[in-house]
């Protein structure tokens, strides 16, 4: 054994210089390579799938949108072949659990496993320092999962692009709102932001619950609650909704509510049946060539009787404003949760 100089070296009693951050890169990779590889394989596999079905979708869309004149029998066939393609993907809900899964399986075990197995007693007594160790791991993993989610979301944006193209309605093609829940949070910056938030929720749950599996479950539950609340209550109020008397709200707008007024007074949300029977009896059964639906008839009838339909909506042009608003609060929330996590680790008593 080589001799250790016992007399204190001059540096030893002074405050030591912290170890370089880059050392944590290897440490983090070596300890989290399996879940990270899992995420890479999952996203990689899904990316290949999205790319393959996306090419077909784009091909079908290119044919359908180039067809002239719209509404002709040939074009109707092409349109319906585009419409019927990947219907299970078109509402976007199938991708919703992805950020939660990435966040829960990378974020929750990060500290929970150390606390559950007792290895924090090793990790937090090494020369690197407990707070710096935590900060380095959180930042490295948060950056990695956020970047991976951002890359995947670019692919999803490309996939869904045909549905948002202006002029779809005129060609009898599906027009979806980029603000619709299920689609809004797949594109732009928000998909990555939700993944970061799920990771931050997971990290905090891990340090609070201190056991891996319950922390993962808690993360999924908390994330689902937050995502649902945001989609249901929050998102539509980011900016004041526009109100229009125009019945033909573009299909890419997010319609919030519709109601009727008479003489600038609120009349009703949905016309009472008794009123309809009295002033707008059902049209004769021999309805025309099909592009004259019942609601159009009722609407026109009510208008003739002095009622005006108002629609509040968020226009599709607000997509990026909404993205920035949601991205910002999610980023702020994530940073807050990560800050709380580091603070808890700092004062956590073994």
């Amino acid at each position: 054994m080589s001799a250790l100089a016992m007399p204190a070296r001059p540096e030893q009693n002074a405050s030591v210089r912290p170890l370089p951050w880059r050392r944590m890169i290897w440490v983090t990779w070596r300890q989290h390579r399996f879940p990270l590889t899992g995420v890479a394989v999952l996203l990689g596999g899904l990316a290949v799938y999205v790319w393959l079905v996306g090419r077909q979708l784009h091909h079908a869309y290119a044919l359908a949108s180039a067809c002239h004149p719209a509404g002709s029998p040939v074009c109707s066939v092409l349109a319906s072949s585009f419409q019927s393609m990947d219907v299970q993907l078109s509402n976007g809900f199938v991708w919703q659990p992805l950020p939660a899964l990435i966040g829960a399986f990378i974020g929750a075990p990060l500290l929970a496993r150390e606390l559950e197995t007792g290895t924090f007693r090793y990790a937090w007594t090494q020369g690197f320092g407990r707070r710096r160790w935590t900060l380095a791991k959180l930042v490295l993993l948060a950056t990695t999962v956020t970047a991976a989610a951002a890359a995947f979301s670019v692919l999803l944006s490309w996939y869904y692009q045909p549905y948002f193209t202006a002029g779809n309605q005129g060609r009898f093609l599906t027009a979806l709102s980029p603000l619709a829940s299920g689609l809004f949070d797949l594109r732009g910056v928000v998909f990555a932001a939700w993944t970061l938030a799920a990771f931050a929720i997971g990290a905090l749950a891990g340090v609070l619950i201190r056991r891996v599996v319950p922390a993962i479950v808690a993360t999924l539950v908390a994330y689902a609650g937050l995502a649902l609340a945001a989609a249901t209550f929050l998102r539509q109020h980011y900016l004041t909704a526009l109100i229009t008397k125009n019945v033909d709200v573009p299909g890419t707008a997010l319609v919030l509510s519709q109601w009727w007024t008479k003489g600038s007074q609120f009349a009703f949300g949905r016309a009472p049946i008794t009123l309809l029977q009295r002033i707008c009896p059902p049209p004769p059964p021999k309805a025309g060539p099909g592009n004259f639906s019942k609601s159009d008839f009722v609407g026109q009838c009510l208008s003739r009787h002095g009622y005006t339909q108002l629609t509040s909506y968020q226009p599709a042009s607000r997509f990026w404003s909404f993205q920035l608003i949601e991205g910002s609060w999610l980023l702020a929330l994530s940073l807050l949760l990560i800050g709380v996590t580091i603070w808890l680790v700092h004062r956590r008593t073994a």
Binding site: M1, P18, R23, Y122, T125, R347
Partner: protein, 305 residues
């Protein structure tokens, strides 16, 4: 230099004090044993010293005044926790690399030589090592950091006798050859005589005995005599613990170093470390704390009865 200095140190969980009014000084260059029954606060004291816990009261500094848990303190202290936690899914080589990355100093040659001697293969996963090998790996990693203070929490509790012997041999070699100060906790008293030259006895969250083993042994003795005269004789003595038989009574006496002659019919013997520790553990009210009393010690001495 003192490797540990605690003053008024206390740690409370909810309403219970795991450690209370602990004032303690352990000088460098010792193998110090922290002894006490289960729940006496040994692990709490060690966790406070290595900075895993923050105290509820008082303060603790290490290695000549560094705040426990500071980067400078972590740099000089290696800690092997109870049950020697390792990353079970990492290989031995990975654990080495991990520890090298997380510390300023890491003696690769030393640790590889030791693992070679122990027959621990580098590619093996930590989970597949025996309990003794895991303990040895954790100890080797700690020593490879070239610490000035090695802190071990119940290091041998889970080991079989051979592994226990090998483990303690490694610790003692490091202490003797490299001058590493050692603080180890144990509730196995039998080991201590061979290992420790400084004793800290904790009981019910308080420091009961603290001192150099030679000094402690020099100022205690066992006095044996007829039970009938026991009460008369014991009046002038500082009796720590009395063990009464039908005919004979054994007093463990604190003598302050002077070997006063004993009355006729009585015999005096030197005391062993295990016997001394047991006597104090059986008498939680008694205390033997180091000489030139500092302010904090005076309070404790007052509680001596």
């Amino acid at each position: 230099m003192n490797v540990i200095e605690a003053s008024g140190l206390g740690k409370r969980y909810g309403g219970t004090w795991a450690l209370r009014e602990c004032s303690l000084t352990i000088p460098a260059g010792h193998v110090a044993a922290l002894v006490g029954p289960n729940g006496a606060g040994k692990t709490t004291l060690l966790n406070l010293a290595v900075g895993l816990m923050a105290p509820s009261a008082g303060s603790v500094t290490v290695l000549g005044g560094l705040p426990a848990g500071s980067l400078a303190a972590l740099d000089g202290i290696a800690f092997v926790a109870q049950d020697t936690p390792l990353y079970k899914n990492l290989s031995v080589a990975d654990m080495l690399h991990l520890t090298r990355n997380l510390n300023r100093r890491f003696d690769d040659r030393y640790v590889k030589g030791r693992l070679d001697d122990l027959g621990i293969p580098l590619p093996r996963k930590a989970a597949r090592l025996s309990g003794g090998q895991q303990a040895q790996l954790a100890l080797s990693l700690a020593l490879a950091r070239r610490p000035r203070l090695l802190v071990l929490d119940e290091p041998v509790a889970m080991l079989d006798p051979i592994a226990r012997h090998d483990f303690m041999a490694t610790v003692l070699t490091a202490a003797a050859d490299d001058g590493v100060s050692v603080l180890l906790s144990s509730h196995v008293l039998a080991e201590l005589e061979r290992v420790a030259d400084y004793l800290v006895l904790l009981s019910h969250g308080r420091v009961q005995v603290a001192g150099d083993v030679d000094d402690l042994l020099a100022c205690h003795r066992v006095v044996t005599g007829p039970t009938a005269q026991a009460d008369r004789y014991s009046e002038g003595l500082n009796v720590v613990h009395a063990r009464r038989g039908e005919a004979q009574v054994h007093f463990l006496v604190r003598t302050n170093g002077s070997a006063d002659p004993v009355p006729q019919g009585w015999e005096a013997h030197p005391v062993g470390l295990e016997e001394l520790a047991l006597a104090y553990l059986r008498e939680p009210g008694a205390a033997a704390l180091p000489g030139p009393a500092r302010g904090d010690d005076a309070q404790l001495s007052a509680a001596m009865r």
